[in-house]
Symmetry: C2
Subunit: 509 residues, 2 copies
C-alpha cells in the first residue's frame, strides 16, 4: 500500500464517522421523538470527538507527512495532492487551536442557544448579552490562535470561505450597495405594494409537494440517491454522494415557501450529488475544521448553487413560462384567474422587511451586510456587545428604511451568534455574487444555453456546473474554481447586471 | 473519579457508538434511498470496528480489572458489579476469538446473503450450499474458540441466551412436543379450516394504523420516546431508553399483520423503554458480543415480552371483548356482520403451514424445533450441509404433516444461516415458554390482575414487568430473572397450561 493509499484509508474512516454524524443530525431534525434529544446529544458529541481525535492524532500527522513526501513533484492540481493539502492545512490549524478552546466553546454553545431562544421569546437582549460576550471572547481567541495579518475576521473566514478577507468583503459590499440601494429606492418610491390577493387562498400541501418535487427532478435531483422530507428550518445534508437529502416546509396560503425552498435545497443537493465518484469517502468530501461531511468548496460556493437554482433559474420568467401552466393544473381552482404576469411578479415581489429569512433578492444582501459589518465591528472593537441593538437598528434604518419594533425582530432574530460561529453570514451574499458569475460564464461557454433554459431543459446548465464546479468537491478554493470555470476572479459585475436587468424589467418605475 | 466511574465513562462512549449504529441501521431499513446502501455499509462497518476496538482494547481491559478490584466485597447483585461482570465476560470471550475469524465471517456474510436470496429466488439449494458450508465452518471455529464442555451448540448459545445449553433445549422441546403434537392432531383432525370470509375484504391502511397505535399506547408504549414506522420486515430498535422505535407492515386484506405485528414489536419496545434510567449509556444496555445497543437480558427474554403482549394479551378474548367494538368503529362496513366470536377465532386460527413467519401459536414452536435440531445436528456432525433439504422435509412431515413443494418454501426460507448466526432460532420458543411463566407469576403476585386485564387496564401487568424484568436491563441472566420474578427456574408448565386451555376452548373437538 502506498503512503497515499494509507492516508486515504484513514480519511475514509473519518469520513464514515462524519457521515454517521450527519445521519444522526438529519434524524434529530426530521423525526426524533421529543425525549430523544438528550442522549442523541451525547451520541453526536462522542462521534464528533472520535472523528476529531482521529484527525488530529499524531498518526494522522505522520500519514499526511509521508503522503506529502511521496507526492513531491506530482501535479499540484491533481486530486491526490489537493486531498493531502486540505488535510495538511486543517491539521496545522488544529495544532494551533488550544483543545480547551474548542471544548469550552462547544460546552457554552448549547447553553447559549437555549438562553438565546428564551431571550428572543421574552424580547430581552440583556438576558443574552452575557452569553454573547463569552461567545465573542471565544471567537477572538480563535482568531488569535488561527492567526491573521490584517483583520481578526480574516482568521474566522478561513473556516467558511478560504481566501476571503474583511478587506475584500468591504470592497464587494461597497459595489453591491452602490447598485442595490438606488435600485431599492426606485422600487419602493411608489410606496408599499399590496400582498397579491391569490395568496389568501389555500394551496393543499400534497399538490405543493408534488409540484416542488417535479421541479426539483427537472433541475436534476436524483431520487435514487436522495429523498425529500419536511423540516421547520429546511436544509440539505449528505451521507456521501450516494445519499443526499433535501427538505422543505409547507405553508397552506404561501406555496412559494415550499416551492422556492425546495429549489434552494435542490441547488445544495445537486452540488453534493455531482461530486466525482472517486472523491467518495475522501479528504475532499470532509470539512475537517467543521467536522462535517460535505463536498463543496466553501459555504459561499455552496450557497451559489442554491441561489443559482432557486433564483436565477427558479424565479426566472423562462421557468414559469413553461411551468406555470403545469402549476395551474395542480391548483386549477386557486390559480385559474391568476395570469402568468401576476404570478411571476408575486414570486419576485420586492418589499423591505425586518426578517432576513423572508427577504427578497434585492434586499437580502442588505441584511447580510448589516450582520457582517456588525461581526467585523465586534471583532475589531468598533462595537461592544452592549451597543449592538442600537447599531443594528441604525443600520436597518440606513439600509432598509425600517426600525425594528423590538429586539426579537431585530438583533435577536438569528441563532448564528449563539452557536459561537462568527464569519458565516457573508457567505450568503458571496453565494449570490458567484451565482451571477457562474451563470454568465455558462452562457458564454455553452452554446444554446438560453434556448435550452427557455425550454426548461436543464441538462446543459447542470452538466456545465458538474464539469466546472460540482465534480471537484473541495479540491480547489472558491477563487481557483471561479478562475478555472469563468476565467475571472470573483467580481460583482455579472450578478449586479442580472439584478438590475431583472428588477428594472419588473419595476420599470 | 473512581475506577468504576472511569469504567462507566468508557462504557458510555461505546454505547453512544452502538446507538449510532442502530440509528444508521434503522434509517437503512426504513427510508434510505436505494443507492445509499454501499456507502452506508462502509459507515456501519467503520462504526462497528471502532466500537469493537474500544471494547477489546488493552485500556478497557485495565479499566475492567481496576473496577473489579475496587468493587471487591460489593453486593454481587448490585448494578455496578453486574456491569463490570458483563464487560468482563464479553472481554474474555473476545480474547479467545481470533480477529480473522470475525473479519472473515463478516466479509462472507454479505456475499452469502446475496447468494441465499438468489438461491431462494431460483429455488436452487446447490447454489447456496457452498456458502452454508463456509458459514458452518466459521460457526464451528467460533464454538471451539469460545469453548464448551458438552455440545458445540452451547458455545454459540452464549451469544443469544446465556445459560442455555443443547441438553436443556432437548428436555424443554420434548415437553413441548408431548403436548403440542397431540393438541395439533386434535385441532386438525376435522380437516383443513376455511379462511374466514371477512378477510377477503379491504381494510384501509390508515385505520389499521390508527387502531394498531391505539392498542400499542394502551399497552404502555410511549410516543414521546418512540415512533411507529412501516417496514417490510417489522422490527424494534432503540437508541437508549429515550428513543425506542417500532415498526409494522400493512396488508390491505389482512389487518392481523399490522395489528398483531405492532403488538409484538410493542412488547419488545416496552422492555427497552422500561430500563432503569441509571442504566442509560451503560454496559448493561450494551450487547458487547453482538456489538448492539440493547437493554434486554437475552434474545429469549426479549421475545418473551413480544409474545406476552402479542399473544397472551393481544390475542386474548379479554382484549377483544373490549377492543373489538372499537375495531368495528374503525371498520364499520367491513366488520358490521362479523361477530366477536368469529373475529376472535380468526385471530387464533390454527393451520399447519410451510412458512415459520406465518405460523400460529400452536405450530410456531414446531417450526423452531425443526430448525434448532438441524442446527445442532450440523454442529455435531449428525447432518452434512448436503443432507439438509432431506432432513428438513422429513421433519416437516413429522411435526406438521406437510412436505414443501420446493426448497424455496423449505430449507431456503430463512436468512439466518446466511448471516452466519447459528443458535438464535431456539430463543423464539424460549420466549414463548418464559412468557407463560411470567404471566402466571404476575397473576399470583398482582391481586386483581385478571379483573384489570378484563377491563384492558394494562398498568398493573406493565408495572409488574417493569419492576421484575424491564428495569434490570442486562443485569441478570434469564435464569436469574425468572427465579427472582417467579420463584421458579425455567419450566414449560405454565406455558403449556396456557396453550392447552386456550386452544381446547377454541377447538373443543
Amino acid at each position: 500500500m502506498t503512503a497515499y493509499e494509507q492516508f486515504c484509508r484513514h480519511a475514509a474512516e473519518i469520513n464514515d464517522i462524519l457521515c454517521a454524524i450527519n445521519v444522526l443530525q438529519w434524524d434529530a431534525r426530521i423525526q426524533m421523538p421529543p425525549e430523544g434529544a438528550q442522549t442523541r446529544g451525547y451520541q453526536l458529541a462522542t462521534l464528533t470527538r472520535l472523528a476529531q481525535e482521529r484527525f488530529t492524532s499524531a498518526e494522522n500527522g505522520r500519514l499526511i507527512e509521508v503522503a506529502e513526501s511521496e507526492l513531491t513533484g506530482a501535479d499540484p492540481d491533481s486530486y491526490p495532492v489537493r486531498a493531502v493539502k486540505a488535510a495538511r492545512e486543517a491539521y496545522d490549524i488544529f495544532q494551533r487551536i488550544p483543545q480547551d478552546l474548542l471544548a469550552g466553546r462547544a460546552a457554552l454553545s448549547a447553553e447559549a442557544q437555549n438562553v438565546w431562544a428564551e431571550a428572543r421569546k421574552k424580547n430581552d437582549y440583556a438576558l443574552f448579552a452575557p452569553y454573547l460576550k463569552q461567545m465573542l471572547a471565544y471567537a477572538q481567541q480563535m482568531a488569535e490562535a488561527i492567526g491573521y495579518s490584517d483583520h481578526p475576521y480574516d482568521a474566522l473566514l478561513v473556516q467558511y470561505e478560504p481566501g476571503m478577507t474583511a478587506q475584500r468583503l468591504q470592497t464587494l459590499f461597497a459595489e453591491l450597495r452602490a447598485v442595490s440601494l438606488p435600485l431599492l429606492e426606485r422600487i419602493t418610491a411608489a410606496g408599499p405594494q399590496p400582498k397579491p390577493a391569490f395568496l389568501e387562498r389555500e394551496f393543499p400541501i400534497e399538490q405543493q409537494r408534488a409540484f416542488a418535487i417535479e421541479a426539483s427532478v427537472a433541475f436534476g435531483y436524483d431520487l435514487n440517491r436522495g429523498r425529500v422530507d419536511v423540516a421547520p428550518h429546511p436544509f440539505e445534508i449528505s451521507f456521501t454522494r450516494q445519499d443526499v437529502r433535501i427538505t422543505t416546509r409547507y405553508q397552506l396560503r404561501y406555496p412559494f415557501a415550499a416551492i422556492f425552498g425546495l429549489m434552494h435545497e435542490t441547488g445544495h443537493g445537486l452540488y453534493e450529488l455531482g461530486a466525482a465518484p472517486e472523491l467518495t469517502r475522501s479528504a475532499l468530501t470532509s470539512d475537517y475544521l467543521g467536522m462535517y461531511a460535505v463536498g463543496g468548496a466553501s459555504f459561499g460556493m455552496h450557497e451559489a448553487q442554491s441561489r443559482m437554482w432557486e433564483n436565477l433559474v427558479g424565479r426566472s420568467l423562462a421557468f414559469w413560462q413553461v411551468y406555470y401552466p403545469r402549476l395551474q393544473e395542480y391548483f386549477s381552482t386557486q390559480l385559474a384567474d391568476v395570469s402568468l404576469d401576476t404570478f411571476y411578479r408575486a414570486a419576485n415581489r420586492v418589499q423591505p422587511s425586518l426578517i432576513r429569512v423572508e427577504a427578497d433578492e434585492v434586499t437580502y444582501n442588505l441584511h447580510i451586510m448589516l450582520r457582517t459589518e456588525i461581526e467585523m465591528g465586534l471583532l475589531d472593537g468598533t462595537y461592544t456587545v452592549d451597543e449592538l441593538p442600537a447599531a443594528w437598528n441604525a443600520k436597518m434604518e440606513e439600509y432598509l428604511g425600517l426600525t425594528p419594533p423590538d429586539d426579537a425582530q431585530g438583533v435577536l432574530q438569528d441563532v448564528h451568534w449563539a452557536t459561537g460561529y462568527f464569519g458565516s453570514f457573508p457567505t450568503y451574499t458571496l453565494g449570490n455574487i458567484m451565482s451571477g458569475q457562474l451563470m454568465a460564464a455558462a452562457r458564454r461557454q455553452v452554446s444554446g444555453l438560453d434556448d435550452a433554459l427557455a425550454r426548461c431543459e436543464y441538462a446543459p446548465l447542470h452538466n456545465w456546473l458538474i464539469d466546472n464546479i460540482y465534480r471537484h468537491a473541495r479540491a480547489y478554493t472558491p477563487d481557483e474554481l471561479l478562475i478555472r470555470a469563468t476565467g475571472e476572479a470573483l467580481h460583482t459585475g455579472p450578478y449586479l447586471a442580472y439584478l438590475t436587468e431583472k428588477f428594472d424589467a419588473l419595476y420599470p418605475g
